[in-house]
């Protein structure tokens, strides 16, 4: 394996583990990239874990990691960088507990690979504010009791901050009545835009109040 460290690579970066993985399966012939049968036939080939280097910035700090290629961004944050604020709920994009911002955009960190984020700028709940200097959204969640157990809360807060940015950026939503008009803050807009964050405790109405307060302050 060759290593690389510069972010934003332009050359072809082939990260191959032990020769065994590739050489051992080379005899099976051309892969059918779109063909489920062929990919499942790969199951018979024993495969060793593959590690690859990746560098990205989290909450302003740069990290250089050597990770199993299978590591999700979520697991990299939690297990390798010990930033356990970001939560794992479903691990399948269904709950939003793992929401973080990557290059200013909210995503589900469970459904993306860490190695795909070379050079990225990641912000987690720990990067939004600190216990003595809370982000306005964190403070509003506390004030309005926007949680019960708190498990979904980091994801809710990251999402909420991004939702206000998305409205400001003019991105329409499913409930925006006039798709050509600039969307405006409303409770309906927030409900729709926050639908990717599930709260098992059902703190939704307080969450909406917290977001509404921050939106009012920001306006």
């Amino acid at each position: 394996m060759h290593s690389h460290s510069e972010p934003g690579l332009s050359r072809r970066d082939l990260l191959v583990a032990g020769a065994a993985t590739v050489a051992g399966s080379a005899a099976t012939g051309p892969a059918h990239a779109q063909d489920a049968v062929n990919t499942s036939s790969m199951d018979t080939v024993p495969r060793a874990p593959v590690h690859a280097p990746v560098r990205f910035t989290v909450n302003g700090r740069e990290h250089a990691l050597e990770l199993d290629t299978r590591t999700s961004l979520l697991d990299a944050l939690r297990e390798h960088l010990h930033l356990t604020g970001t939560k794992k709920g479903c691990d399948h994009g269904q709950c939003g507990a793992c929401t973080v911002m990557v290059d200013g955009v909210r995503i589900n960190s469970c459904l993306t690979l860490a190695v795909m984020h070379e050079g990225a700028d990641v912000t987690t709940i720990e990067g939004l504010g600190t216990p003595d200097r809370l982000h306005a959204m964190q403070a509003a969640f506390v004030k309005h009791d926007g949680y019960q157990c708190g498990y979904c809360t980091p994801g809710q807060i990251c999402s909420a901050v991004a939702v206000l940015d998305e409205i400001k950026a003019g991105i329409p939503s499913h409930v925006t009545a006039d798709i050509m008009a600039t969307p405006e803050f409303s409770v309906d807009e927030v409900r729709e835009r926050m639908s990717g964050n599930i709260c098992r405790c059902g703190a939704y109405s307080n969450i909406i109040e917290a977001i509404t307060e921050v939106a009012g302050r920001a306006a």
Partner: protein
């Protein structure tokens, strides 16, 4: 998840060539469908080709007056594009009706088109499924089929294609642009991209091994009233039971594609002649040959009513 090697593609042609050189290779774009399936070992690629750094993330005007949407344009960016909102409202609306804000930020145009079915038995690796394991049987037939397809299905598979975006692209007569492993490029109408299951439900598209989607082409705008109406079990963040993508003109003509009912966006051009005769006449033609199950027969009636609601909305 099974281990895999990983590379970042340098160019579309290189990505396509690499995809047939490396056994068990797959492209990864947003990863929101592929990784979901890899975690469940429904997909087990031995090699991932990350196409995210290919410069395929812009929306450009075409000489024909349409738009060329790069394969990697995110669902959010596509829905927010002023030209798309103005001239292709059905597409913007379909995108916004899909998934969640977080997912749309990651999901790409090509990945959305190629997302795989949400059939619950396809996801349950303990159950036989002809799509997952050809020849193992279809657990859905005779099982719980409320979400599944009513038309275009076969005795081997009754799954639906879950994409909302694809329904709009079908109504818009969009075309997919690709590059093959040998470097040749071609254009495939969205109408012909997805295959009906027949005896081979695991073969879902006409794409060749290694073929990379580089763009989606929209023809020049056709105007009209453009509506996307999605009926689902909750108001947001759920797949369609039935959806209607419609482009309706003042003279009563129009183009309609349905989602949630078939293995591909369902459109029958000949049926559109029936549109002036009302939703029943049109739906009867559109759904001719439907083979619903006891659990999902409601989808045929729901399609007609949803279409009726869309026609009413268009009339204002």
């Amino acid at each position: 998840m099974k281990p895999f090697t990983y590379e970042r593609a340098a160019s579309p042609a290189q990505a396509a060539a690499a995809a047939i050189q490396m056994p068990g290779a797959k492209f990864i774009a947003g990863g929101t469908n592929l990784l979901d399936l890899m975690k469940l070992q429904i997909e087990t690629p031995a090699h991932l080709i990350d196409v995210n750094r290919l410069a395929l993330d812009t929306i450009e005007p075409t000489q024909e007056g349409g738009l060329r949407i790069g394969a990697l344009v995110s669902n959010t960016d596509l829905a927010a594009d002023a030209r798309v909102r103005r001239d292709y409202g059905v597409l913007a609306r379909a995108l916004l009706a899909g998934a969640s804000g977080q997912l749309r930020n990651k999901a790409t145009t090509a990945g959305n088109l190629l997302q795989r079915t949400r059939c619950p038995y396809f996801y349950d690796t303990d159950q036989p499924c002809n799509k997952r394991h050809p020849g193992s049987g279809c657990s859905a037939i005779g099982g719980v089929t409320r979400q599944l397809g009513v038309i275009g299905t076969s005795d081997a598979c009754i799954a639906t294609h879950p994409s909302d975006m694809a329904v709009a692209l079908r109504a818009l007569d969009a075309t997919v642009e690709t590059v093959k492993a040998d470097g040749a490029t071609r254009r495939i109408p969205v109408a012909e991209l997805h295959r009906l299951p027949g005896d081979t439900p695991h073969v879902e598209t006409v794409l060749e091994p290694g073929e990379l989607i580089t763009a989606v082409l929209l023809p020049a705008p056709v105007g009209g009233t453009q509506i996307y109406r999605k009926v689902r079990d909750r108001a947001s963040y759920a797949f369609a039971l039935v959806s209607v993508g419609a482009i309706l003109q003042h003279d009563g003509t129009g183009r309609i594609a349905l989602g949630g009912v078939a293995p591909k966006p369902w459109r029958v051009e000949e049926a559109e002649a029936e549109l002036p005769n009302g939703p029943r006449a049109f739906t009867t033609r559109l759904m001719a040959g439907a083979r619903p199950t006891r659990d999902n027969a409601f989808k045929v009636a729901l399609a007609e009513r949803t279409l009726g609601a869309v026609l009413n909305e268009a009339r204002g």
